[in-house]
Subunit: 353 residues, 2 copies
């Protein structure tokens, strides 16, 4: 990787995370957690008392500090860049805001063919220079301790926010656009595919050593919808990514979509908790690595119970090379930080080979 050359001395050639992503044997199962930098961490809450969410995202020093917090605290096997999947769509002029408690809101959702026709391609370098700068600083600050993962929202999930205006129960505006105006839908997806590829390639050039695509809400679609309205665009996106660094392809509620996600692409398929890890791996294919898949709610329970459920996930992985331990979705903000620390220790201890 080009970035590794420029940052010689801070590469991580022996990182279990990178080996597992390539299905190579590792001395123990590597573990990191989606949303490992977040509200459950006292040091994150302390920063958030003084700074807004977007403010943290847009200041590379702050974003780098947040990115490193869980690495220091938890001993996880990878860092993931602190950012938000919607930063990329700010230039679309849809009125993106992060409201307190509510999460992201898009004030001017894009729902009609005319509205889609009015969109212009996203100038990624102008939109998110701070993300690339944060990646450079984190990579330098990590000093080779663990690899850095970059990420983006997958086009369907980002499109669903742009169309709905926020989280949705039924995604009816999105589905109506797909069914009633398939060409407009394709144009919206094409704009996002192009921007997402540039965004991820920019993160890789800035020092990320792997990237994850979060198709968090794609599980609202049936397989027929995925085939018609998502798969061709995802293939396009995977083709446009710089070769070399592992790509993790994640969604939730995807038990029936895994063979299609596999067909779309990804070196590592992320599994949510609603599928047994062994069944999910079989569906994703044993020629791929998998990441997952403990229910985040299990971390609310006592460590003795957490141990039992970690064992179940590890047993289902069966020691086969290519398993990266993670939750099935992000860490819940109600999670006791000691339980998260216990989880990382349990995974390392129980998987030691």
């Amino acid at each position: 990787m080009g970035a590794d050359d420029k940052l010689s001395g801070v590469t991580t050639p022996d990182a279990p995370f990178l080996h597992a992503a390539r299905r190579e044997p590792t001395p123990y199962t590597p573990v990191w957690l989606m949303r490992q930098a977040g509200r459950y961490l006292p040091e994150y809450r302390a920063l958030r008392e003084r700074h807004g969410f977007l403010e943290l995202c847009k200041h590379p020093d702050a974003a780098a500090e947040v990115t490193l917090q869980p690495v220091e605290r938890l001993g996880v096997d990878a860092a993931i860049l602190f950012a938000d999947i919607l930063l990329l769509v700010e230039p679309l002029g849809v009125g993106l805001e992060f409201t307190k408690g509510e999460g992201p809101v898009i004030r001017r959702p894009v729902r009609t063919e005319a509205q889609v026709a009015g969109l212009t391609p996203i100038d990624v370098e102008a939109a998110v220079p701070f993300v690339f700068e944060a990646a450079r600083r984190v990579r330098a600050a990590l000093g080779g301790r663990v690899p850095l993962i970059g990420f983006a929202g997958a086009p369907f999930t980002v499109a669903s926010y742009v169309v709905e205006g926020g989280p949705s129960r039924d995604y009816l505006h999105t589905k109506r656009l797909m069914y009633e105006a398939p060409e407009a839908w394709s144009r919206l997806m094409a704009i996002l595919v192009d921007a997402t590829a540039r965004y991820l390639n920019g993160q890789l050039a800035a020092g990320a050593q792997a990237v994850q695509l979060f198709d968090s809400w794609v599980g609202v679609l049936g397989p027929e919808d995925y085939r018609a309205f998502v798969l061709p665009h995802m293939r396009e996106l995977f083709r446009a990514l710089a070769p070399g660094a592992p790509v993790i392809h994640f969604g939730t509620g995807t038990a029936a979509l895994l063979p299609l996600m596999r067909a779309a692409g990804g070196d590592v398929i992320g599994l949510d908790w609603r599928v047994d890890l062994d069944a999910g791996w079989a569906a994703a294919g044993h020629d791929r690595a998998v990441q997952g898949n403990l229910d985040p709610a299990v971390l609310l329970a006592r460590p003795a119970y957490i141990r039992q459920r970690v064992k179940d996930v590890l047993d289902r992985a069966g020691g086969r090379p290519g398993h990266i331990f993670n939750l099935g979705h992000g860490v819940l903000q109600q999670t006791p930080v000691e339980h998260v620390q216990a989880l990382v220790e349990l995974v390392h201890e129980m998987s030691a080979r």
Copy 2:
């Protein structure tokens, strides 16, 4: 069936719905729709302008009228009793209310071991006599045109309302109770299993010719949770149901749970839209009938597109005896009534053998 003897002359021995539920050949694929009596129907909205939701449920004449509305309007192959899955828990004293727009709210949710210990068994006959009376009136009014389906919420889904207090995003109170107080969870489930069995058997005795268990939210659980916290209770429930009438076992987000739902019981396994019907049938087992599974959002699209998607579902069923056409979940209130009419006609026309 006892009820059939008492109501001789109004039986429906040739009903395609009942034949399909028993995997016997039918001249066309029978179709009914979850929430076929609901807000998308002008005649239902007219009634609701004058009466509250609970008022309709509790007056057998009104409930019977609502039950019959879609039979008259749509030509569906079954009627489903108008009621709500939470009526059964009113006697628990949890403060059940149906608020405008928000749906059901439980003012005093049950979240602790002490709160569960304070619950007493539900006196079903005293709690829902109006449901049984409505079933008798509907059965008589149908005059044998189509069979009558009774229903109940499955214990997990009802318990999740009782514990959360309403719909939930993450079901954390429910999962915490399961993980941290498994004996209290079992007691809550046992109370609901007992009441649900009495409730469904009462509906069958009052004239229902099949029943459906709605485990609508069970898809928030991973398979390991289902095995430990749901499966034993569901087995108990299926064992307690009066033999003879077909039982439909339905949930959403269940792609990975279908083999376990099959193991729990049910003559017909209900599939939501997030699985291909052929794959779902294979997972549920070809020794069961299946029901489903068009995405309700498809009914927002033009009839030409609806036709294409109906064809896909029918093609995947492949004309095999044992398919009951339905949506993957309830009719959305935004659905044009003409699209629902078109759907029923399309299914009958395209499946004619």
